[in-house]
């Protein structure tokens, strides 16, 4: 069986004709067969198509007509991304037999880049209701310990990438659904700037907060994946009409000269993080400082002040999306989704507009706070993953999320692994940039990641399989 490779490593080997896309794809499919009965990360495996695509990639490799860094790379898509002729369920009974006729824009772009789609990945129901045990498929499990939560809603992507079943995958992020699974599964995952990658053909949750983006093992791989999914889409009303940045351009510049703000009160006061998470952040700051970065603390409004309008906007918009089904088929949804979204019916229209007005004020607050800064640092998650059966249904009312503030502001935000806690599961930090400065976020993430050894450790179940 092939060793674990990053997308960048595999791409270089394929380009040099030293790695067969067919063998690489077969290795990943074998891992799916052996590990996914425990992980439940896939809702559907498209083996026949994957092998056909891998053979085509191998033909291009041998002919010297490789399309680029993703050609021959095994990936999979969160099951809210439409795939033509392939079931797309949102992990819900309501779409159990839904077969779209067109690919979403991102699925199409990754296919055109030569990636090999292995199938469709578990999600929380319609990207909000999870982890649920009353849906047609079970929830995904964390490869670092299958009794534990992956976070969501890109739960299957997080589990599959961490276990080495795929080398990267799509996620969506409305309140943290890329960065949460990245954090708890020990990956890199970016919510790019709002409008960077098209949402067309992705089942909506809350249109003004929804972002599409990638999860992968490394920051560099995320940059490669985002490069292939970004770009103006005139048919996505939120798509930014501007040139696509070169996300990998600054990867090797290190942290020298970066001006870093630490939102210390977010992870020390507003939602106190675990000792391992705090240590990971402090160690990262020491690395940045040693490379020549300037670091100072930043004070913003309390984190819950960002979460409250974010939650209100999300719940109202999601209710609007689902209202017809909620009225006609309430009990066909899982309990978590239907109870959470029912509150959307009780929010006055004026409160929604007031939350949007508050949102603008918060965007201005962070813009001003970052006037002389390049990035912000805080946690991505408070601690290691909890047990999957101990995830609170109403957690959003109890403690603020570290990720929601940057859905509210639309800024790019990247989660990177900063080590492992007492339970052996990953901990993480979040790197936040200015709007459309995603390349700077990647630069900082790569500078940190390559200065540590965390990327050499894989879940035990995966390394045991590799022998």
């Amino acid at each position: 069986m092939q060793p674990f490779l990053t997308i960048a490593e595999a791409g270089n080997l394929i380009a040099a004709k030293k790695l067969s896309p067919v063998e690489l794809t077969r290795t990943c499919l074998d891992r799916v067969k052996k590990l996914d009965p425990t992980l439940h990360s896939f809702l559907l495996v498209t083996e026949e198509r994957a092998m056909a695509d891998a053979k085509a990639a191998e033909t291009r490799m041998m002919a010297g007509t490789r399309k680029g860094p993703l050609d021959g790379i095994p990936i999979a898509h969160k099951d809210i991304y439409n795939t033509a002729g392939i079931r797309t369920t949102a992990h819900s009974k309501l779409l159990e037999h839904n077969v779209p006729t067109e690919d979403s824009v991102v699925v199409q772009k990754w296919a055109e880049a030569g990636s090999i789609m292995l199938g469709k990945l578990a999600t929380h129901e319609f990207a909000i209701g999870g982890p649920s045990f009353d849906l047609p498929w079970p929830p995904a499990r964390n490869p670092w310990n299958p009794d534990h939560f992956t976070a969501g809603s890109s739960s299957g992507t997080g589990a599959a990438v961490a276990a080495g079943l795929i080398m990267g995958g799509t996620g969506s992020d409305t309140g943290g659904s890329i960065r949460g699974p990245s954090a708890l599964c020990g990956l890199a995952g970016i919510k790019p700037t709002y409008g960077t990658a098209s949402r067309r053909g992705v089942l909506p949750l809350s249109q003004t907060l929804d972002h599409t983006g990638p999860l992968a093992w490394t920051v560099q791989d995320c940059a490669l994946l985002l490069q292939a999914m970004a770009g103006y889409d005139p048919l996505d009303p939120a798509s930014a009409n501007r040139p696509v940045a070169n996300f990998a351009a600054d990867l090797d510049k290190g942290a020298k000269g970066l001006r870093i703000g630490v939102i210390r009160h977010f992870h020390e006061v507003d939602h106190p993080a675990s000792p391992a998470t705090l240590k990971g952040i402090e160690d990262a700051l020491a690395i940045f400082r040693s490379q020549g970065a300037e670091i100072r603390d930043v004070t913003l409004s309390p984190m819950m002040d960002y979460n409250a309008p974010g939650w209100l906007i999300l719940t109202t918009e999601a209710y609007a999306v689902h209202e017809p089904w909620l009225k006609e088929r309430f009990n066909d949804y899982g309990e978590l989704l239907r109870d959470r979204l029912a509150f959307g019916a009780l929010i006055p229209a004026s409160s929604y507009v007031q939350a949007l007005r508050r949102r603008r004020a918060l965007c201005v607050e962070i813009r001003d706070a970052m006037a002389d800064l390049d990035i912000l640092i805080t946690a991505s998650a408070p601690a290691e993953a909890p047990r999957i059966d101990e995830v609170p249904k109403w957690g959003m009312f109890e403690k603020p999320s570290f990720t929601m503030p940057f859905n509210v502001t639309g800024q790019p935000a990247l989660s990177v692994c900063t080590g492992y806690g007492d339970g052996g599961l990953p901990v993480s930090m979040q790197i936040v940039g200015k709007p459309f400065a995603d390349a700077t976020v990647f630069r900082a993430g790569h500078a940190y990641e390559t200065a540590t050894a965390w990327r050499t450790r894989r879940p035990a179940m995966s390394t045991a399989l590799a022998g």
């Binding site: 003004t208 309008p309 009225k327 309430f330 109870d339 029912a342 507009v353 009312f397």
Partner: protein, 58 residues
């Protein structure tokens, strides 16, 4: 708001919930109200909502 008033409020939305489902929501309704209040502080009369994009990025 008592449980009966909450039940009426839910019924007016057009959702068809069982008494148990209403009880589940009613139990966390105070937290819901607190969240709505926190999301909607007093704002200056001239405060604009978000999502009015700059023309050059559209």
């Amino acid at each position: 708001m008592d449980k009966a008033e909450f039940s009426t409020l839910v019924d007016r939305t057009g959702l068809t919930l069982t008494d148990d489902q209403k009880s589940t929501l009613f139990a966390v309704y105070p937290k819901f109200q607190a969240m709505v209040a926190r999301a909607t502080p007093d704002m200056p009369r001239e405060a604009e909502p978000a999502l009015i994009f700059q023309p050059e990025v559209r």
